[in-house]
């Protein structure tokens, strides 16, 4: 891995990380009397320790590549890929690589409530700061705990632990800073983009920090794995100030972009308004005759009867239709009518 030059992920197809036949059973080891199919859990009995070590690990250099998701334009990443156990490889309909800048931009444009795997976020963080996270706050920092468990109680110096963390997390996206707190035996990792933090959170939870050259490597599954959670705000006043400055900088950048966009729109609007004026002077009445409009109405009603729960909606309908009205520019709706009239 070290000496060879590895091809960029765009130049190869994604690898199958685990063969389907090698995947372990999805039923967890028996800890109770009866198995609850709905929650995929054993009930009645001592629930036992839920923590475990993930036997698979994502190797970004080896595993990432082009999958079907890239070709279809899917914007979300494969959760199984992040955990190192996707058995579909290039056939997977989700993306199989480490999130990069352009992916982030696409995701941010698309939605504010879904994380990079397409899961819904919540209003508040969970009490234990685990899980998908909150849509109210941009959080790019992860808390890393459970370090002794993930090292199977192996004694390492502070800098060795930091170095291992740096190596593991550095592969999963552009790092902003890493800080290992010796007195609390935990670490904080900030990424440049939030979606890298989301990705790294899934990729690194329940992983071991041992490396094959350690003598504990064979017994790694007996450990407990890393605890990766969202971090709270840094209480250090300097860090707070820095965060504030950063967000202000971002806000100013966005302001400039907004202004540009607005100017463009205004120009367009002006042009459109002129066009509309011209049109109005040419033909003062509506574009369609009354007969045509009633025809459309009838057609809509028939469709609505056919599908009881399904409503088809023209993305834009004016006063003639009765159903929901999203706001869209009038031009689009005209095109819609024209195409439907062609069919008849």
């Amino acid at each position: 891995m070290s000496g060879k030059t590895v091809k960029h992920w765009k130049e190869r197809s994604a690898k199958v990380q685990v063969r389907e036949s090698d995947l372990p059973s999805s039923i967890p080891p028996q800890t109770g009397l009866s198995f609850n199919l709905w929650y995929n859990k054993w009930s009645q009995g001592h629930s036992g320790n839920a923590r475990f070590v993930n036997p698979y690990r994502l190797e970004p250099n080896l595993h990432s590549g082009v999958s079907r998701g890239d070709l279809e334009g899917n914007k979300f990443f494969c959760l199984y890929f992040a955990k190192g156990l996707c058995c579909l490889g290039k056939k997977c309909t989700y993306k199989h690589h480490i999130p990069e800048e352009e992916d982030t931009i696409q995701l941010n444009l698309k939605t504010g409530v879904l994380d990079c795997f397409g899961r819904e976020k919540f209003g508040e963080f969970r009490d234990d700061m685990g899980g998908v996270g909150s849509f109210r706050k941009q959080n790019k920092t992860l808390y890393i705990g459970g370090l002794t468990g993930s090292l199977n109680n192996k004694n390492l110096s502070n800098s060795q632990i930091e170095s291992r963390l740096r190596f593991m997390f550095g592969r999963l996206g552009e790092i902003e800073r890493i800080r290992y707190v010796e007195s609390k035996n935990c670490a904080f990792v900030s990424f440049r983009f939030q979606c890298n933090a989301e990705f790294a959170k899934e990729a690194m939870s329940n992983q071991t920090l041992l490396i094959p050259s350690d003598k504990e490597w064979d017994a790694r599954k007996e450990g407990t794995g890393l605890l990766v959670k969202w971090a709270n705000d840094d209480p250090d006043p300097k860090a707070k100030k820095r965060m504030q400055q950063e967000s202000e900088k971002e806000a100013v950048n966005v302001m400039k972009k907004l202004l540009e966009k607005h100017d463009q729109n205004q120009n367009q609007d002006n042009n459109e308004a002129e066009n509309n004026k011209r049109k109005n002077t040419e033909e003062e009445s509506s574009i369609f005759s009354e007969g045509m409009l009633s025809k459309f109405k009838k057609r809509r009603q028939v469709i609505e009867k056919e599908t009881d729960k399904c409503i088809t909606l023209n993305t834009n309908s004016d006063s003639t239709t009765t159903s929901a009205v999203p706001v869209k520019s009038p031009l689009v709706s005209l095109q819609g009518y024209e195409s439907s009239s062609d069919e008849e």
Binding site: S2, T5, V6, N61, E72, N74, F76, T93, L109, K110, T111, G112, V113, G118, E120, F122, G123, E124, F135, R136, K137, Q138, S157, N158, S159, Q160, S163, R166, E174, I175, E176, R177, I178, R179, E182, S183, S190, Q245, E248, K249, A251, V252, V254, M255, K256, L258, L259, H262, K309, C310, I311, T312, L313, N314, T315, S323, A324, V325, P326, K328
Partner: protein, 360 residues
């Protein structure tokens, strides 16, 4: 029948002319107010793999002027927090900071959602007239540069002085210092190396900026040694190390620094490279012996001590090099002068004594 309508932005609806939707009355719990609401599910095109659905109720989306699917602002298509921040920056002080307050407990959430009000910045962005007004204001401020926020952008860099941390005064770091290549000098004639020591790193500089800047300097993205940590920055000790894939790349790095004149000679006639990022300068020394994470201190005490020692070292090194520093600070003083003149114009300058201090 307001529940029959929905607030979905154009981006979520997609480009297709006809969108087929499924309506589920009381299908989900609103993520903001916890009331049940009418859910609409749709695909942007027939072949799209993901179903988009509304996640919050129409009332909540109206109050915040956000899309029910993506929860971004309907007019500007940005997150709520960012929108509020921008509006309060533009309005600067005239109406205080604008925040969309969110309730913590369920009763309050429901109570707020039933009110017929606009929350936070929604008041502005839901009204095209006010949006126009805001943007006009913004334009004016950007062109004249009279606004505080814009000036703050240029004066952001603050050369913070290491705190007097007497707690760590007694920490012994001679062992660490002796391993640092402080007596080396950067030049093409010296034997090639792939490791470099970097210092004078402001804590506000993130690692990725350094990484990208180095890629820019040597004009190659793939310079990192993937088998180990190729870039370590210890923000507490304000120094770090770079490791290139090969000594050739290290050589290339040195020569491109020298070609662009990004070097300086210290008071002891040692040559240092300079990587500049924004308004900060990071100094570079070749490091023949290589480094590990432990080279920058093993605990917080060592880190802080190392940073203060390096700062003293830099000050000593920069004696007689103040010309560069002055150059560096020139834009700052001008902007502060600008600020001063602004203040004088307003005739609200209550603390004239502070201005000479600023200019220092």
């Amino acid at each position: 029948m307001s529940e029959d309508l929905f607030n979905i932005c154009d981006q979520c609806l997609g480009d297709s002319k006809n969108v087929r939707m499924i309506k589920v009355p009381s299908g989900l719990e609103c993520k903001i107010c916890t009331y049940p609401f009418t859910v609409y599910k749709f695909k942007t095109s027939n072949r799209a793999s993901n179903i988009t659905k509304t996640l919050i109720c129409k009332r909540c989306s109206d109050q915040r002027n956000i899309c029910q699917c993506c929860m971004l602002d309907m007019t500007w298509h940005i997150p709520v927090n960012l929108r509020d921040q921008i509006i309060s920056l533009i309005n600067n002080g005239s109406s205080g900071t604008i925040v969309t307050k969110e309730a913590k407990n369920d009763i309050m959430k429901r109570y707020i959602s039933l009110k017929d009000i606009k929350l936070g910045g929604a008041e502005f962005t839901s009204d095209p007239k006010k949006v126009q007004e805001l943007l006009d204001n913004l334009k004016e401020e950007l062109t004249t540069g009279s606004n505080k926020s814009i000036i703050r952008e240029s004066t952001q860099k603050s050369t913070s002085i290491t705190e007097k941390n007497s707690k760590y005064e007694s920490v012994n770091i001679t062992n660490l210092i002796s391993k640092l290549p402080l007596s080396n000098s950067i030049s093409e004639s010296s034997e090639p190396t792939k490791s470099f020591f970097i210092y004078n790193i402001d804590p506000s500089i993130p690692e990725w900026k350094v990484r990208n800047r180095i890629s820019e300097i040597i004009n190659l993205k793939d310079w990192q040694d993937t088998s180990s940590n190729s870039l370590i920055i210890n923000h507490k000790s304000r120094c770090g190390g770079i490791r290139f894939k090969s000594a050739d790349l290290g050589n290339k790095f040195v020569s491109s620094l020298q070609e662009t004149g990004k070097v300086f000679t210290s008071s002891e006639c040692l040559i240092r490279g300079i990587i500049d990022i924004d308004q900060n300068q990071i100094f570079v020394i070749p490091w023949h012996s290589g480094f590990s994470t432990a080279s920058f201190g093993d605990n917080i005490g060592e880190n802080v001590k190392l940073s203060s020692r390096l700062e003293k070292f830099i000050r000593k090194e920069r004696i007689g090099k103040d010309s560069i520093l002055i150059d560096q600070q020139l834009p700052l003083t001008t902007s502060k002068r600008q600020l001063k003149s602004n203040k004088e114009n307003k005739k609200k300058n209550k603390k004239p004594k502070r201005i000479p201090n600023l200019q220092l």
